[in-house]
Symmetry: D2
Subunit: 308 residues, 4 copies
């Protein structure tokens, strides 16, 4: 997929793979960033591991040091019973790679707003988890919570989670959240798993505080699926398409070339002028988004059930 040239000039990027793509040459050779790719043919799944290994990589990617694994497959969105099973298994394997295999008690947190379809991935996944309350010896203990959003609770979500973690003492936390992507084609077709947890400013609901090993004092793995793109993406895509279309016609090719030749600074400035504050508060989502959220929360909850 061609990099979106205008998208490069915006703020926070939820997906590490999109942060990488925003570099010239797709960011293949950034210092401090190690890349690994793999494919599962039966489900057309492309697995990309981006490892940010030092301060240099952190600065370039504007993301914390850690591992970011992306599963990409069209089957995530429109699956069969069989493909869903394989997708869940692939996700289970990735989780096992990032988890300490000796974990005894896991807290799964479904972030987001169950009343807002695009933000409901976390709570929907919780509803499908098979809880394992403590009791039997030698058994792993799985618990879960969907804390809601600040507009519902009046509390910072991170505070609720921190309180629950301190009191119930899980030895690992898995957080599930809906993300914003830059590219339309990622909606519902990508899962990002990272051992860096949730960053401030990320997610459909724009989390104010982070959820990670530093804040919660236990390892935190985040599973994120892009369910929206910012409305700004449509504006950027329009500009890219405009340049392309204008250049293709003899009578307008000069205008197209002029627009294309703008310097990064100029592009950034232009975009800021084009996008009203109102637009920043909008999101773009597909019309069958309820199916998308249902399908992906099934795959994710099943993957966690398979850990046991």
């Amino acid at each position: 997929m061609k990099k979106n040239k205008w998208n490069s000039y915006e703020g926070h990027i939820d997906l590490a793979i999109e942060a990488k793509e925003s570099f010239p040459g797709d960011g293949g050779e950034i210092n401090g960033v190690v890349l690994e790719e793999e494919t599962i043919e039966t489900i057309d799944m492309h697995i990309t591991t981006v490892e940010i290994i030092n301060e240099e990589g952190k600065k370039a990617m504007k993301k914390p040091i850690g591992t970011y694994i992306t599963l990409e497959s069209p089957w995530l969105l429109y699956g069969t019973e069989e493909s869903n099973k394989q997708c869940s298994e692939a996700l289970t394997k990735v989780l096992q790679k990032l988890l300490n295999p000796n974990w005894k008690k896991m807290l799964v947190v479904g972030l987001g707003n169950k009343d807002l379809t695009v933000d409901a991935l976390g709570p929907s996944s919780m509803a499908l988890l098979e809880i394992h309350p403590l009791g039997q010896e030698d058994k792993k203990h799985l618990c879960s919570i969907a804390p809601g959003v600040m507009a519902q609770t009046g509390m910072e979500t991170a505070e609720i989670i921190l309180g629950v973690v301190k009191e119930t003492k899980p030895d690992c936390v898995v957080v599930i959240d809906a993300l914003a992507a830059r590219s339309l084609h990622r909606l519902g077709t990508t899962i990002q798993i990272t051992d860096t947890g949730i960053e401030p400013g990320s997610g459909v609901g724009n989390h104010r505080l982070g959820l990670n090993k530093e804040t919660l004092n236990v390892p935190v793995i985040a599973i994120g699926v892009p369910t929206v793109v910012g409305a700004a993406t449509i504006a950027c895509d329009t500009l890219d398409a405009l340049v392309h279309v204008l250049k293709a016609e003899a009578t307008t090719s000069e205008i197209g070339s002029t627009l294309e030749s703008f310097q990064p600074e100029e592009k950034h400035q232009l975009l800021k002028s084009l996008l009203s504050p109102q637009v920043r508060n909008l999101f773009v989502a597909p019309k069958d988004m309820d199916d998308m959220v249902h399908s992906l929360s099934s795959i994710i909850s099943e993957a966690i059930n398979l850990l046991l």
Copy 2:
């Protein structure tokens, strides 16, 4: 609000008031279309009545002959208990104007998908209605149904409604639906009431068949609220803003002027090239859309409760 120049070249328009605005000079003097305006100061409500009175008006507006009343107020979206009450009363009055006062049995239909927040206005309103089952003499009888969408039922929604209407024989039908707007500022701040029912191709869910006096054999009043804009709107808005920004700078004003001077045909052609089929399947909505749907379905259901 300035008319969006690029928006004029697209297909179906849900709101009559936007169809009117797409004409030069805001369409104030279209033959066959009568306009009337009114204001309720306490809630900053602007009430516009568009009457399409003959074939000429119908052709110009691309909408059926009939009455289209639009309530516009910022209080619809962010109201207090008191403003909500006044908004409901204003809507009740409009409904009384369009209804035969001697109605005995009303069927209220909540169209849309309860699992998709932007399309949930109809089902949410149904949940708040006060049903009046038949029984007592001389009392009006209010019944309601939320038939779901084709992806849930496997049936055309219009067929379900038609079957229920034939069997239960209401003497009027009120249909509530979420609409798509052209302008972002209309999201949640506008209610359209029309005695022409639901048009084919309208609504967030794109109804395939119409629901009106011809198809149901009883008077049909539709109450619609725009909860989304098409993603194409963002593209059009971007082009308008681009022209504006380019013209304002000395170095780029010429490019701006050239883009602006495109003929309608050229603009239409350009937009078609810019918008991928994928974009047409996307919608744009605000992040606090669940509150918007909750607030508006309360106002609408309360307005209907007040009819009794």
Copy 3:
């Protein structure tokens, strides 16, 4: 299971198998009633087919002429993934026996109130069905509706269904409903399938009108699961237990014997005195009823999905 002696004197019985059990000798030799039994060992499932073949049987059983098949298994309530699959397959087979194999368009109706856990079996099953809208040649067409209850719609549920059937013309109808049982041990462990449809007065919600081949003009198969018992059952069970306990003690055995020796007429009269009208409006249900409804609606919807 011992027949409940006091329960015999009450009104409508939803389950044919309980109607049969209310006869002396468990009703094995009622004229006009044919009995057949079968077992699936792997899931401890007991399948009983009660056929009412003529007016004599109809009068004795107080149920319409037709076939009543009961699946009984503890695994229905507390199943594993594997047992659920086998339960669904057993149900699919029964449905295939009662359905004309050449059906082209099936309407599945989920009766009941989704907001009342004990009555939510029908709507819950609908949410899990895989709808097959018409379109492709030579494919069976599966559609569904959850019409709600009269308190929600203000309409007779039977009228809504009749309207939809007349308009959409399915060639068979499958109705799913929550039933009331006489015996506590049946809650969630029994599925009744019958080709006589839904009787007036049956179900948790006490349907006023019947849904059957006579009223809908197409074959109607009803799938029912007892999710409640009437509060009267607890009263009857208490009297039976009382007799038993009193007889066991030397000092009270005489009282026990006297109570036991009451004539049917006397027992009936006594029960009528004991049960206040309020009690008739109560139901008894287990505390984990939400799990029960979830498990059984999964098994039922999966069984219907398997038909395709």
Copy 4:
């Protein structure tokens, strides 16, 4: 209301007013227990304040030292807009009496299972609360959480609450829960407010751990509404009615008198024999329980909204 003679021999009683009624003479003169009564005529509301003031009262009532205020009114169950408003105001007044008026930050906790209608009072009330997130100076801060039940989260609910309280530091906690009553006539017509919090073993969901000032380290007020009665109540009611009916007939009056003359020990023993363990896991509820829960959660949430 006549005291239920057989009901006296059972275990935990959720309502203080029922504990009091289980004493001879309705417990009017128990040492260590102070009683006060009041009436609001317009809504037929009877307000009873039971104060347990010392160890003697605690031992007699089997309830912690503290204040228990009961609001009883038929309008709680079947109200008009106006009566609901008055019921909310009465509840607000009681809360103000028990709360320190200088509270700055209140956490409202909705206990129970939103998927089980009879246990959904707490979560339903949360959905209707008007949250006041911190921000503006000098404003009271209202936050809320519906933590779910152990079967959903795998964690003790009390642990979740304790964690959240420790982290977010409210200066008072209000807990809302569905209770079990002894008398059918209390279902939906009674609200109990107490400053002793939630007792272990109470509630429809049988809370294992208490939530009170000792465990949470801040004042805890509990608002409880009986939505079920135990199935055992029906058995006890049946026995009481049986004695009454048998005594009334000349031929059976002797049996009736003998049953009545059983000593407390004998009655207790008999009940234990009659009630199977299965019965203890059942509850009895009215068929229109969804309306009951909806109505009461509106009254309660509105009463809390009125505090601000």
